[in-house]
Homo-oligomer: 259 residues x 4
């Protein structure tokens, strides 16, 4: 039985994570780090009586858990993960906000301690698999375009997942334009351009979060699509991370690394 501590257990994602760990046969929730969580809120937060509640980082006891599952805030994540590694927790980190330098430092530290861990900007399994498959497919279908579709309230375009997908594809295909001589009779219809990979962003009410990667070759096409209907979807990726982190001997970035 693997023991899990959840940092940020009172937040939206943390609460879902508590219920996830409670539902797993091979995991046991033994502690939470939640600065403002009172003891009489245990039931409302689905915390059994034997779950330790810590209000400050320094109070956390080494050995209380094997895995440190972090859904906190950008300002806390670096200190949390460093503390976790120092005290022999395997970090599984869903919190954003680590700088490239911090990430590098923490990974090196994990390597020295031979301690597994995972930093995942995206725990949505369908999005992570889409990216993994897209990178593979682009080796054989170098001509590719991305269409992402989101609700009308999204404030920026393209989506982070779409741009990440383009970057992964760019690593494996020679940079080129698919139709270099084409004329646009209406400006910008060919979309955004990332090293020759066209990205199209659709914004419509009703839509939630969807992405398609379209590959074309002589006489055939391959399309990979993912739909995120709600946040619940993230937990399937967290589950996989919890189950696999012990097989690693250092911290890696990206859920796709362990699929």
């Amino acid at each position: 039985m693997t023991k899990v501590l959840i940092a940020g257990a009172a937040g939206a994602m943390g609460q879902k994570a508590v219920q996830l760990v409670n539902s797993m046969d091979d995991m046991q929730l033994t502690a939470v780090l939640a600065p403002h969580l009172a003891d009489n809120q245990r039931t409302a937060n689905h915390l059994a009586d034997n779950v330790a509640i810590y209000h400050a980082l320094d109070d956390v006891q080494e050995g209380v858990a094997n895995i440190w599952l972090d859904f906190t805030v950008p300002s806390a994540v670096y200190d949390n993960v460093k503390f976790a590694l120092q005290h022999n927790f395997m970090p599984v980190v869903g919190t954003t906000g680590l700088t490239d330098d911090q990430e590098k430092e923490l990974i090196e530290f994990s390597e020295n301690k031979h301690l597994g861990g995972l930093i995942a900007p995206n725990f949505g399994m369908s999005a992570v698999l889409l990216m993994k498959f897209a990178k593979k497919a682009a080796q054989y279908f170098p001509d590719v375009e991305i269409i992402e579709m989101h609700h009308a309230d999204k404030k920026d375009a393209p989506s982070g997942t779409a741009l990440s997908t383009a970057k992964l594809i760019d690593q494996v295909r020679p940079s080129h334009q698919t139709s270099p001589d084409e004329t646009e009779t209406l400006a910008n219809v060919r979309g955004g351009d990332y090293h020759g990979i066209k990205i199209h962003s659709v914004r419509l009410p009703g839509y939630i979060a969807h992405e398609q990667v379209l590959f074309g070759g002589a006489g055939e096409a391959l399309t990979i699509r993912q739909d995120s209907f709600d946040r619940q979807s993230f937990m399937s990726g967290v589950k996989v991370a919890l189950q696999k982190v012990a097989t690693l001997d250092h911290m890696v970035v990206g859920l796709e690394q362990i699929l």
Copy 2:
């Protein structure tokens, strides 16, 4: 039995039209206008012995057919259609190249003669229905985007059908932007803009000719898609035109007008 003359019977579209009319129980091919077609090419062109072959416009006999089906060239179409109306043929015109003024003049002439006819820039039934449905749907779903996908050799973007679709939609919805405050972190990902209707053009090898119209509303979405796999598809629209033109008392523009 309705009698049909095909102008341009030796061209790519004209040849398919010959075979279409030959296959219809209620139509009879009685004449063709084909300047360079020799009599010994009848069999190769699927023309029965009793089909009159004319090599010049002025040779065509009034009464030889009821319908004048025109798949010729832009430089000939105006003279052809005028001749047809003057001699009491009902024109069904798949040839492009009429100016707006010419079109207007010919329609007025047809009204005076109470002679039905059809000028159709697009005989693809799936494309025509897509446009018809999109115009209807936009009355109830004013937020809409268009994605068209073509082979990588297409030389311009967007496709004519996509732009026509946007223009039809524009007639029935108040002009507005769906996500006016959005920030593009990669230039042009939001695509081309026709009065607030975003158009996205995808160009990939393998693809042929495809168009999607995406509508979004509170909690729901409606998508209409058409795929053209080959030119054969145009003939289903020609068939409908041949069957319905006699019900008209003047010439109309657009196959969708008679569906």
Copy 3:
């Protein structure tokens, strides 16, 4: 300003309807019929002080509203609609449960009184438009299949919308099998059969409620798809019904009749 009474205002759909009417500039909510709604629940139910609350059908005053919007229960709907027509309300009915005989009787009654009304089994605009378009397209593309996709908890297959779509299509195409001589090497892969229209039901977790109608013709295809992401989607159809019911002089069945 058109005045509206909502029967069943405290139910799930009724509450959404209250908010819809409150949001419309040309409609005013003047009364609700809600047997168990206490006066001190006005605020929680978004009811202004001047909205009359009735606890029993016989208490409702003629003239209190022009439209009777009914989201009640099968056991109440017949009495409600009859009462509404007798007292000169125009019924807009989202409640299911009327028998064919009851429906017929109520429609005849509405005809005699020249009173408009609408009985709509489905107020989802995307589903209603899909059905309307599918019926039209089948006139030109008689070969058609339906794929509906729902969450894994749905207890029956096919969906009501899919079957309704098949019935509408069946009205306009000659009954036939598309591939009559085909051999199934795995039983039932060709799906359910409604007069030659194949229906396929997909059940997967994550999915909500989606339907596709696929048409194929020589060299081309047409696909109409609708996605319902949440119940909120029904209200756009209710809005259209409220705005159009006054243009009718008898009660009709199906939102598509007034689009």
Copy 4:
């Protein structure tokens, strides 16, 4: 420069293969095995003067090529591949018809000779990648259905690719029904069943060859789709096979094994 012999060079697939090898910078076509190909048909078959033409298997010279690319007929394939291995050609086999026992024997023989090779029932890259990705995704999304769509003239259902996909998925997921308690109110709408994986076959004119694999999980969905528009598509997979076969030390089955 790798030298290639093509067996069956005069057939439909063989002719495309000739043109493929001619177009590759790192491959040279040095010989063909084509029983009925006359020397004066070289030009029509795109064969340079220095390409050896063999009319019988026993005439083929060892050393004339490194790779034996086989697009022949079921009755010839076993003898061809055995001959190839005996004479130190690396076989790349697109011909169907090997029995399981023959396949096993040939593989063992290749292992003993440390000779690479590939037997591929399907060289369509989009189909092969779809199968590869579907098998991977099913590890994380055990609930899955398959929809394949083909032209109306296809004589059997489901397609071989769809069934192969189901078998690959079946290897990595626990056999179960997704909606075991569901009631069919129209028989067979839930499709064919392969160990709990539902398969739906659509047959419509216009369609060519298309397959979708739909995965659903809590709050999300993943869809992989491939479209084959013409036979040309097979050659991209043959190209990959030619380029990779030399890296193998025994014969493998399935193009996906080397991607």
